[in-house]
């Protein structure tokens, strides 16, 4: 049963982002306005270069918008400085990437533990929570392995474990199945659906219509603007 809350988690209004070189200015987001409610699972689709990843980076507070408003949980964050953004991010947002982005020098356990270190969770509590989430992702037996020793599917499960270990309110997933075969891809989508059903808001960028069907709503972008929104029933 998909549960969507009434409270608004994200509201962006007239969001703008430009990429400038010495000669050319490219508009990545052109006065884009979107709202996402708490508990929603939203898929963002569109052709390459339409601004999907740019939008996700701004939503994840990894990048600054050049104009417009971004309200997160009722707070205007568009002009937050690096420190404030980092603080807000580490307490509220988890990320899942297409290329997993695990740190090669850390073991599975240490990779998953990392967000807890940054939020200042005590060591004993960290061990408990990491073990819990590894268990849930069925990757516990690989806790002392390094990322290079795992399959793609296993690496993405570790990445999801890392994204959820801090119990974020929002998960931003950038083509989470892009580097996986269909079987592993489906497993990942099931995991994300489970998380959503437990209350986590998910915004996922994808090229896959199949994956998009797991969401409540699909936002299609073209040239930095919303062209259509499909509500999934």
């Amino acid at each position: 049963m998909k549960r969507i809350g009434e409270t608004q988690m994200i509201k962006i209004t007239d969001l703008e982002k430009y990429y400038r070189t010495e000669e050319v200015e490219t508009i990545a987001l052109n006065k884009l306005s979107i709202e996402v409610k708490t508990g929603e699972f939203v898929a963002i689709m569109g052709p390459s270069g339409c601004g999907k990843s740019t939008l996700l980076n701004i939503l994840g507070m990894l990048d600054d918008p050049d104009g417009g408003s971004y309200v997160f949980n009722g707070v205007e964050v568009a002009h937050f400085n690096e420190r404030k953004r980092a603080d807000l991010r580490k307490h509220n947002i988890g990320f899942v990437f297409q290329s997993f982005n695990l740190i090669d020098e850390l073991t599975v356990f240490e990779n998953v533990e990392l967000p807890l270190i940054y939020t200042g969770i005590p060591s004993a509590e960290r061990v408990k929570r990491v073990e819990e989430v590894l268990d849930k992702m069925q990757i516990m037996h690989r806790r002392n392995h390094y990322p290079q020793q795992l399959s793609g599917g296993q690496q993405q499960r570790v990445a999801i474990a890392r994204a959820v270990v801090n119990k974020p309110k929002l998960i931003l997933a950038d083509e989470p199945t892009g580097n996986l075969d269909s079987s592993n891809g489906n497993e990942v989508m099931e995991l994300l659906t489970d998380l959503n059903e437990q209350g986590t808001t998910i915004i996922m960028v994808t090229h896959s219509e199949h994956d998009a069907r797991y969401s409540h709503r699909i936002i299609r972008l073209l040239d930095g603007q919303t062209v259509v929104e499909n509500i999934m029933i």
């Binding site: 990843s53 740190i103 940054y118």
Partner: protein, 797 residues
């Protein structure tokens, strides 16, 4: 969190072990050199600080017009003790310094240096601890002697020396009343034996300037205050004439005054005279440059490696790390590597210090000698500075990465990073090229000095130490006994032996000629002195047995003296010694200038006379024996045998004048060794850095190289492409350092009266050497990349 940082750092070091080792070893070499120089600086600064009471001790010296004398009048010490309100104790002494005095017991005879003739107050001023005997009474007896531990051991073994007797010069007998502990740090006044002055009570003559005077104050005061006080009482009691006020006298251009040096300042910061401290400061500066070269390697390699760390930075930012935390993480990583470098540097220092101590005759220790706290503090500061120097820029650079871009795989670091990196390479090679220029200039100057005509020949000329008796009254007898030996050509004596750095007399006195005063050096010789050293005459004659020569009515002068006196036809002119206007001394000959003091100074104007019959008594120096023929060893053996008859109580001490003259090069030989060492370290570090850096860039450009190769580029073209950027940078380094190097070397050469002219070839050679070294380093990697199979690289991309 710190645990996580250290863990990541350690794994990164292990993962890139060879590059990490280049980083670490390069820095360790710089650190080791720096710490050694720091230890040397500590050693120099620790002079005369072996007891807190020494802070109150000052040496009094005399200035007569423009002449500086470390010695003061014999009665000055007693005078100050009686008249100066702030004097707690005053002592005067005569130190034999490096001059070796014969000490004998019934069973042993040793030649010992650093023997000091003292008065009863010595231990009240210099707080030596006695391990045997009582410091309060040890110097009370008229023939008392206090020995250092090692001299006591040399003379008496493990026996208790107290109450036993020691003879000095086979003349005076002393009773040992104490054994003193060696001071914990070096001192300008090394004391291996203290002997009570047998003539202490008769030293009342104000004209006797044979003593050094030291005051211990009741309360510490500034030098100026002490000088003001003692000069006022000295003037009032001894110098005052015509009711001239003290202030008016002080303003006169010609006047006598006293000045003081705190003992702790004598070695490094004397008011007058030379100091070693400038050399130490220059060495420290060079060591800082080396450290900088090591730190630059570190920064450059870290930046070069940054593309590997970019993803990690991005992920950490995504997971909540802010920039400060990332900077902190990278600084910890740098600190970890710096600590490892420091550990290796300490190990290297442990291995190198004994060699340095032996080569430079000093006692540097990393641990012990009461300097532990200083060393720990300095090392900690050094580690901090190096960590900041090496890690700060890479940390800021790495933490600045745009998260979104690096996670997308965009690793371009922008122009700013490249410019800064190139600047660092330029600075690094500037330092290396500077060292290469230095070594070429020093080597050329050394060769010039070694090959230059000294103006005399010291080949097969023995220099023999003698007692004053043999040198003066017994000279003719000794000469007869030696000249009868086969192989001995000439026997002569001089008060100034070429190359002698012991008691070398560079002072001049005011000779008079035609009513005017000319400051010339006075040297007493015997008649065959110039023949012994093969010094040619340019006018007049050599000394002979004429009465005028023997009775100091004739003199020979050198070319510098002729110039100073402004004479065109010097032979037959008459000069007079100071205060001897009534005794004329006729110039009978002029000798060609010859160099006795090395090449730093021009040849002094010198007046040579024979005997001590008129005006000025001069002694010291040595006897010179010229040996001819091929049987040097037999002749030396025969001289040794004969010497037992000439001076039965004094075992012969001899050296050769040629070897003796090498002493003037010792300081420069050391400088050359040190600069060679610094150059090798600087070049090694730079090569290591350049090697690693080239490897990184070649790896980064491997795809581009493969594409170019597929499109038809040759290996030479590719190697040139990869090398040219670095070659330009090194050429730029050479261009930038050349004027600085020229200026610095010109300054250094100006300290020599006789020196080479700086030629463009030195700078050209330095440029070629640096370029060759760099090209060899770069081309290895460049060629390796250029000949690699392009398919591999393209597939992996």
């Amino acid at each position: 969190m710190i645990k996580n940082y250290i863990k990541t750092a350690w794994r990164n070091i292990s993962k890139d072990f060879s590059y990490s080792m280049i980083n670490i070893l390069g820095l360790a070499a710089g650190l080791a050199s720096f710490v050694i120089i720091l230890l040397y600086l500590n050693y120099e600064l620790s002079y005369d600080k072996w007891d807190p009471e020494l802070k109150k001790v000052y040496r009094v010296s005399t200035q007569i017009n423009s002449d500086i004398l470390q010695q003061t009048s014999a009665p000055l010490a007693t005078f100050i003790a009686q008249k100066y309100y702030n004097a707690e104790a005053v002592t005067h002494l005569m130190s034999a310094g490096d001059y070796k005095i014969l000490l004998s017991t019934d069973e042993k005879k040793i030649y010992q240096k650093d023997i000091i003739t003292v008065d009863t107050s010595f231990l009240k001023v210099f707080p030596y601890k006695l391990i045997r005997g009582d410091a309060k009474t040890a110097l009370n007896r008229a023939n008392a002697a206090i020995l250092s531990e090692d001299v006591a051991h040399k003379l008496f073994g493990d026996d208790d020396p107290i109450g036993k007797t020691v003879r000095a010069y086979n003349y005076e007998t002393y009773e040992v009343t104490g054994v003193m502990q060696e001071p914990a740090s070096p001192t300008h006044l090394v004391a291996k034996m203290l002997m009570r002055d047998p003539y202490e009570k008769s030293n009342n003559f104000w004209g006797n300037f044979s003593f050094q005077t030291y005051i211990k104050l009741k309360n510490t005061a500034t030098n100026a205050l002490v000088e003001g006080d003692i000069n006022r009482i000295y003037y009032t009691d001894h110098l005052k004439k015509d009711n001239l006020s003290f202030e008016a006298y002080q303003k006169k251009s010609q006047h006598t005054s006293l000045f003081v040096d705190a003992v702790a300042d004598i070695h490094n910061f004397p008011k007058h005279g030379s100091t070693n401290f400038t050399t130490v400061t220059i060495l420290l500066l060079l060591a800082v440059l080396l450290l900088l070269v090591g730190a630059i390697n570190f920064s450059n390699l870290s930046i070069a490696k940054s593309m590997r760390r970019a993803k990690e930075v991005g992920v950490r930012k995504v997971l909540g790390s802010n920039r400060t935390q990332l900077i902190f993480q990278f600084m910890i990583e740098t600190a970890l590597q710096c600590t490892i470098s420091l550990g290796l540097a300490v190990l290297a220092i442990g291995l190198v210090l004994p060699i340095i101590n032996q080569s430079f005759n000093i006692t540097l220790t990393f641990w012990g000698q009461g300097n532990n706290l200083t060393v720990i503090a300095e090392t900690a500061v050094c580690l901090l500075v190096v960590t900041l120097l090496s890690g700060l820029y890479p940390s800021f650079f790495l933490s600045r990465f745009n998260t979104a871009r690096v996670l997308k795989g965009d690793l371009s670091s922008g122009k700013k990073g490249t410019v800064f990196r190139n600047c660092l390479i330029v600075v690094q090679f500037m330092v290396s090229v500077f060292f290469i220029i230095s070594i070429l200039v020093i080597k050329s100057q050394m060769n010039f000095m070694q090959d230059s005509d000294k103006g005399f020949s010291g080949q097969q000329v023995m220099r023999i130490e003698t007692s004053q008796k043999t040198r003066e009254d017994g000279f003719d007898h000794m000469r007869e006994q030696l000249t009868e030996l086969p192989g001995v050509s000439y026997v002569s004596k001089t008060t100034k032996v070429p190359g002698d750095l012991l008691f070398v007399d560079t002072s001049t006195i005011g000779f008079k000629y035609a009513g005017k005063e000319y400051r010339l050096a006075s040297i007493k010789i015997s008649k065959d002195y110039f023949k012994t050293l093969s010094v040619p005459m340019v006018a007049g004659r050599m000394f002979n047995d004429e009465v005028g020569d023997q009775k100091t009515r004739s003199c020979i002068i050198n070319e510098s003296a002729v110039k100073k006196l402004g004479l065109t036809d010097p032979v037959g002119r008459v000069i007079t010694f100071p205060s001897c206007d009534s005794i004329p001394v006729k110039i009978v000959g002029v000798v060609k200038n010859f160099n006795t003091l090395g090449f730093e100074n021009t040849v002094q104007p010198e007046v040579y006379t024979m005997g001590n019959n008129a005006c000025m008594f001069q002694s010291g120096g040595a006897v010179l024996v010229k040996i001819s023929g091929d049987h040097l060893q037999q002749t030396v053996a025969a001289i040794q045998q004969q010497w037992k008859k000439i001076e039965p109580d004094f075992p012969i001490q001899y050296s050769f004048v040629d070897d003796n003259f090498q002493q003037v090069f010792i300081a420069y030989n050391r400088l050359q060794q040190i600069i060679t060492f610094f150059t090798s370290v600087a070049i090694t570090i730079s090569i290591m850095g350049l090697f690693a850096l080239t490897a990184f860039f070649c790896r980064r450009r491997s795809k581009e190289i493969s594409v170019r190769k597929v499109l038809g580029a040759t290996i030479t073209q590719l190697a040139f492409l990869l090398s040219k950027e670095f070659v330009y940078l090194i050429l730029l380094s050479v261009v930038m350092i050349t004027p600085i190097g020229w200026w610095a070397m010109e300054k250094w050469l100006q300290t020599f009266a006789y020196h080479i002219n700086l030629g463009g070839w030195i700078f050209l050679a330095a440029a070629i050497i640096s370029l060759c070294i760099a090209l060899l380093t770069i081309s290895f990697q460049a060629i390796k990349t250029a000949i690699a199979n392009p398919v591999k690289s393209l597939r992996s991309e």
